[in-house]
Subunit: 225 residues, 2 copies
Amino acid sequence: MMMMVRKSKGLGERHQRILDFIESYQREHKHPPSIREIGEHCDISSTSVVNYYLDQLEKSGHIERDRKISRGMRLTGNTPLGDMLRIPMSGVIQAGEPIPIPSSDFNTFSAEDSIEVAMSLMPAKEKGKDLFALKVQGDSMIDAMINDGDIVILKPAQEARNGEMVAVWLSDRNETTLKYYYKEKEGYRLQPANPTMKPIMLKKTEALEIKGKVVMVIRKVDRYN
Amino acid sequence: MMMMVRKSKGLGERHQRILDFIESYQREHKHPPSIREIGEHCDISSTSVVNYYLDQLEKSGHIERDRKISRGMRLTGNTPLGDMLRIPMSGVIQAGEPIPIPSSDFNTFSAEDSIEVAMSLMPAKEKGKDLFALKVQGDSMIDAMINDGDIVILKPAQEARNGEMVAVWLSDRNETTLKYYYKEKEGYRLQPANPTMKPIMLKKTEALEIKGKVVMVIRKVDRYN
DNA sequence: ATGATACTCGAACGCCTGTTCTGTGTCAAG
DNA sequence: CTTGACACAGAACAGGCGTTCGAGTATCAT
């Protein structure tokens, strides 16, 4: 007989697999799977075993269950309701400091600082899941029409096409900024979103590090409340 | 026997009642009701009658059904998943024209132009349901740090407290504008969000109509894509 | 060895639930 | 008046589903 991996603490492979299945099933069918369906897709032949794991997942707080009710289970903590995007807040962005790109460690359930955005609000194909959000600190982005306290949602990128708004690090000036990006024959033009302000012209020799593309800006106007 | 209200077109009272029940049940139990539960709470004694109405609601597109699956129904169009707000887009806002306040006719299912915003994104107690959204047209709001194409979410209001950002109609100037509102002894001060710009000072005699409070600003940066 | 613990299986039980069929009363059109 | 669509009730059927129970098998500390 094969050896079984033992993990008295934390999630075993089976737990993770069940969790993943519930999520993908929910996304596809718009409702949770039954115990037997979980068993089939996770190679568990007995419904009692699935129930056994479900109990553990409930005790560990990963799911909630409505006993007796058919398919009465749901993931907790995240609310992956299919049309909501959860974007991690990986820090602040300010003129004087580089952008804190989120570490790429795939921490499935550490949804601490994050914001939720409706899928339907997301432009085009940006619905990928490597987006991250930053809180703007200071008034240094006013020429990008972005206020102190605003939230910018970025997609990691090292290069950009003309006309895209990017977050760049200008090492020569030791400065982070958000501008519309244009590559021109003599160098780069960084155009502020505010049409009344003038662009920054860069020669090809000057260092310009693209850190990401701006996907969305959100401003909560709840100050003085 | 009692007379039955007939409405071959549109939703009858029963349809509406079932729809409402499904929504409230879902919110409370995190999963849809069964046919029998609908019957009990809507005073329908037969499961077949509930099924009868459910079929109609499905055909009319108000719900989706997974036949054979227990509690396999869900509201469509709105996705009232408890933590999503649906805000109607009631038009555009531009400097030269008054704000189109949404007509207050309570059209339950005409969710045509609207945007979805996660509850968790909403400031404080603004989670009321009389919010409305406007698309900014033109560059006239740049001193409010708001771009052409941005979406502003407003709460209807006729008065405001100091420090709140309001949408006002200045009839003397024939102009709509978004500013921070301050009532001062000599009149009103309308402060632009952009700290580099100067406020508008108004005397008490000048007309100032507050139309709403700004709750949120959303900018989708998907142009040139 | 031995018992405790963790894990797995298979089957049976019984409620819950969607489906279907028969029948009844109402109302408008022919 | 007849007819047929419509709204509704009630009962019975069959399958889905969570639950429970008895039993078996590793792994490990004692």
